[in-house]
């Protein structure tokens, strides 16, 4: 029915897409774990990262690495700034208040981009040697795919080291476990939350570069769908858990690619619907996800 090379190719595609979802999901999951905030503005930081990368590629002669790294640093700063201005004044407020604020932040970022750069989509062209498809054995992929997966895995390894070996990282996990207790133990929770936003936003910017490179064009609303899907990934893995977000990201990437690749082609238009139907299914049978840390029944 399906040849082995075809299946191998789908696995490669799933791996690339999953890397992007995993990177975005980590940021959502860390913030949710600490603040119980579904940060609807997270996807928009991905968009900002993509725009910054494009600006650097077009206007400067910086090496490609810098076009990935600089947006990560800048967007990480933007994430901290958003937290300071919009979310910190709401510390202790009902969760719904933060949720509404994150919708407003998302609207400000999107419309700010429209106002300054117009709503027109822009081409995001990477150098040919990056996006050209190469055939290795039975599967073909571009250098960008390899770099994306390698970068995602590298960043996740760094993050794992950070949360297990550094003081701030351990404090971050303590906050996710119990914010009040962490505060009573003398942890500076504002600092930890600022770090969480910076890290999550930087990872989203990296994902933005990969997403833009993969689809070749960017526009102000591009962050909406990956942001929402990354949340699905985080829920699948168990929201609040960093390994869960990584696992969920890859699972969702594979599920989406396999849905398109192995089911009749007339269904492929429904791929986004499939992702959210999957969310409803997961919430029905295992609402705490695969690697849950947070009790999510009525609370």
């Amino acid at each position: 029915m399906f040849s082995l090379p075809y299946i191998a190719q789908q696995v490669v595609n799933g791996l690339t897409l999953g890397s992007i979802y995993a990177l975005v999901a980590i940021g959502l999951s860390i913030v949710y774990g600490i603040l119980r905030l579904i940060n609807f503005a997270h996807g928009d930081l991905l968009m900002v990262g993509a725009y910054l990368a494009l600006a650097l590629l077009l206007n400067t002669a910086l090496p490609l690495g810098a076009a990935v790294l600089l947006p990560m640093i800048i967007v990480g700063g933007v994430g901290m700034l958003v937290e300071r201005l919009a979310y910190r004044p709401l510390r202790g407020a009902p969760e719904v208040a933060m949720l509404i604020t994150s919708l407003a932040v998302s609207s400000v970022i999107q419309n700010g981009t429209i106002m300054t750069l117009s709503a027109q989509p822009r081409a995001f062209r990477l150098p040919q040697e990056l996006i050209a498809q190469q055939k290795v054995g039975v599967v073909s992929f571009s250098t960008l795919d390899v770099l994306s997966v390698a970068m995602a895995v590298g960043l996740m390894a760094l993050l794992t080291l950070f949360v297990t070996r550094t003081r701030v990282g351990i404090a971050m996990r303590a906050c996710a476990e119990n914010l009040r207790a962490a505060r009573l133990m003398g942890i500076n929770i504002n600092q930890v939350i600022a770090y969480a936003f910076a890290i999550g936003s930087a990872l989203a910017a990296a994902a933005g570069f990969m997403w833009a490179g993969r689809f070749g064009s960017i526009e102000p609303f591009m962050g909406f769908l990956p942001g929402l899907k990354a949340f699905v990934a985080a829920v699948i893995g168990g929201i609040g858990s960093i390994p869960g977000a990584m696992l969920g990201g890859y699972l969702l990437g594979f599920a989406e690619i396999f849905f398109v690749g192995f089911l009749p082609p007339e269904l492929s238009g429904y791929r986004d619907a499939f992702v959210f139907a999957l969310l409803l299914l997961v919430l029905l049978v295992r609402p705490r996800g695969l690697l849950a840390t947070v009790a999510e029944r009525e609370g």
Partner: protein, 342 residues
């Protein structure tokens, strides 16, 4: 219905007659949109304000109501031209506007029930993501199910049934139903859930059932509003009901104050008229030749952030405004204030 209510209804009806004869088409349309937004905001208030869940599904439910009612009201002749692949029985069907509207609302409520079963057992804000996901699902279905929805082209040439009387009538029905619901034992249970779900459950309130009730009733009226909107604009596409609509309804709700019906009416009115005015200003503004599109949405979003930080309870702060009682047999007695904050 007591004399006071009847008096104010008659007053509004009279004003509406005046509006219809004095206002030009543009202002009549803005007024119709105000009423549609009142329907949307008051119905969203049930889930988001009284039960304390957070639904972002209103655009999806509007879309469902609009599409179903459109397929039902289009005359068979235009259906044969627009949607040749429609099943024969559906192609021959032509349903009166009122029935089509109600069926649109019922389908939206049914979909809400299907989404609600897995989601409403969980913490309230999972609902936010699940309902946004529902919006994506509805859009994807509308794009791909070309036999019925005509895909991305959308359905145009709907009969322009919606006028001020329809939207006014449905707004009155919505306010009445939500008001009766909130001031019943169901409503008190909903408010108890908002204040403390665990305590409410311990007191014997069926938490999931009441959340479901609020969510489905809200979806029903959103479906109605979608049907009215479709027959006002007379053209619908999969992208008509975007996230922006949901966001704006949330803004109206928040500005008016969650948990207050009169707040919702006020919020919907203010936040329909102000952006309408801002949009007209925006198109004439520019900064050194650079047009400032999007500025009005930014102003609205910043306003919301400030409301959240400095006046979280909104304009009315969860209280109800009562119109002065003009005909009251017990004027000597002190008035019991209707306080829905419980």
């Amino acid at each position: 219905m007591n004399k006071n209510t009847l008096f104010y209804l008659a007053l509004l009806t009279g004003l509406l007659f005046l509006a219809q004869s004095l206002l030009n088409d543009y202002y009549q349309r803005v007024l119709a949109v105000v009423f549609i937004n009142i329907i949307l905001t008051v119905s969203l208030n049930l889930t988001n304000g009284f039960v304390g869940d957070f639904s972002l599904g209103h655009a999806a439910f509007m879309s469902i109501g609009a599409y179903l009612s459109a397929v039902l009201t289009l005359p068979p002749a235009s259906k044969a031209g627009l949607m040749p692949q429609l099943p024969a029985w559906l192609g021959q069907l032509e349903v009166p506007f009122l029935a089509a509207t109600i069926l649109g609302g019922l389908l939206a409520a049914l979909v809400a029930a299907v989404v609600g079963i897995p989601v409403l057992r969980l913490r309230g804000h999972y609902l936010a993501v699940a309902t946004l996901g529902l919006m994506v699902i509805v859009r994807v279905v509308a794009i791909n199910w070309t036999a019925v929805t005509r895909g991305a082209k959308g359905i145009n040439g709907l009969p322009a049934f919606t006028n001020l009387w329809w939207v006014f009538g449905w707004a009155v029905v919505t306010v009445y139903v939500v008001w009766r619901l909130v001031n019943s034992s169901y409503g008190r249970a909903m408010i108890a859930i908002r204040e403390d779900a665990t305590a409410a459950a311990a007191r014997g309130v069926n938490v999931t059932a009441h959340r479901m009730l609020a969510f489905c009733v809200g979806a029903f009226f959103a479906g109605i509003a979608g049907a009215l909107w479709g027959h006002l604009i007379t053209a619908i596409t999969p992208h008509s009901f975007s996230f922006l609509i949901t966001f704006n309804v949330v803004v109206m709700l928040v500005v008016g104050g969650m948990g207050s019906i009169s707040g919702s009416i006020l919020g919907a009115t203010v936040m329909t008229l102000v952006p309408e005015f801002l949009r007209r200003v925006e198109t004439s503004l520019s900064l050194g030749g650079h047009p400032l599109y999007g500025l009005s949405q930014i102003i609205i979003a910043v306003t919301i952030t400030l409301v959240m930080i400095f006046r979280r309870q909104g304009l009315l702060g969860g209280r109800e405004v009562q119109l002065p009682r003009l005909f009251d047999r017990q004027r000597a007695l002190p008035q019991a204030r209707v306080d829905t904050t419980g």
